[in-house]
Symmetry: C2
Subunit: 245 residues, 2 copies
């Protein structure tokens, strides 16, 4: 892997002594992998905050704008929890996020929504896909880290809002369905392409999936099944929105 | 005054029965004025959220971006409290905010920061001025409303961050001081110009300042002293930033 953020202890001095951490963290490669993963999720949450507050500007009404701003602040709250945990692990949270800035920003540049509805579909489909993926990885982690990740990915009621708005818009103008269905497929393609980029660059993360001497991992068949599950869940979300996957 | 948001009760049914409200609210013109004022502050907070999350994009480092995003979510939290209170008063919060959308948006369009430092100065000087002004008005209100307003205007630690960053930037490049001092004066001018527009359009609000049969108000001399205080505080904030007022 590339440079480790672990060498720069957090200035807040919040780092726990190693004895406070679950035994899994005595393996430096496990610690590095968890720092990498939390860094990725944290930057994902921060950039979700940015994207949602940006999309809020396109809201057709003040109440819609408020709903998106509320989603954005929820994502920021998750970010704060992840940042704190990175400090507890003795990592510099910003150094941990840095490797993921380029791929996440590239994803957002390539999938800038053209209007309010594209923004809603992106929030729903993109966050859903990311949440599925991180939850799958979390299954391989210690209980504390897993709980934090699952908590960070919880839906703060935004799904119902998005589903209601998108279905109502398609009901009012059925032609929208075709354009938004294409948009959903493009989002999936761009997300997979950036995920591959991250996998190729972050050895610690991919080693986590592959497992270790005392840790179960995934073989190629298992990874292939993982991708099938991600694709199925994506299709289900598209159907929920009233869109062809 | 123009159309009242009071005729549209909040769908959430959160409106208190009139007997739960302080006696001052039995005067319909007082109620209308408070709804107007809370609507103005609420939209101010929502647009501060938007502006800070927009300015966060210009942050030179991830830690700075995080600091601005944190300020934005704090403003959104204040907004939520005001929205709830408007519902409790039997008003539609979005209708109460609507009259203030145009003047606040005009202020932000005319004072779009050209860079990160201008954004910081605007956050500090603009929020400080608004907070001073609303606190002055709050002195004429019932205790509950006053407490909510003062709470909504509390500084969530952002001032120290802004002061540190701006002073450090000027120390590193003294010429910046001249440009930022001009910027601070322009912010004050644009704020006063939009405030006058609001005062001219919102009769209920200006009636509040003028007082009523059983409520103290301000005469012209008092209003003139109010503006002196606002100007003095503005000058003090500029000095704190290391800028000539």
């Amino acid at each position: 892997m590339t440079e480790s953020p672990l060498q720069t202890p957090d200035e807040g001095g919040a780092a726990r002594s190693p004895s406070d951490l679950p035994v899994a963290f005595s393996d430096p490669s496990y610690l590095a992998a968890v720092v990498d993963l939390l860094g990725a999720i944290a930057y994902g949450e921060l950039s979700a905050f940015e994207r949602l507050s940006e999309d809020a500007k396109m809201a057709p009404a003040l109440s819609d704008k408020t709903e998106l701003a509320r989603m954005a602040t929820t994502e920021f709250g998750h970010f704060e929890g992840l940042r704190l945990r990175l400090s507890e692990l003795g990592a510099d949270p910003f150094a941990a996020m840095e490797p993921f800035v380029a791929p996440f920003d590239a994803f957002h540049v390539r999938t800038a929504p053209a209007d309010w509805l594209e923004g809603l579909v992106k929030a729903y489909v993109g966050d859903g896909l990311a949440a599925d993926f991180y939850r799958e990885i979390a299954a391989f982690l210690d209980a504390d880290t897993r709980a934090l990740i699952v908590e960070s990915l919880s839906d703060a009621g935004q799904s119902r809002f998005v589903v209601d708005r998108v279905r109502a818009a398609i009901a009012a103008e059925p032609r929208l369905g075709g354009r938004l269905a294409l948009w959903g497929r493009r989002l999936m393609g761009e997300a997979l392409s950036q995920a591959q980029r991250v996998a190729a660059e972050r050895d610690a993360l991919t080693a986590l999936l592959a497992g270790g001497v005392d840790r179960p991992g995934m073989d190629l068949a298992a990874i292939s099944r993982l991708f099938s599950r991600l694709t199925e869940n994506h299709s289900r979300r598209m159907e929920t929105l009233g869109l062809a996957a």
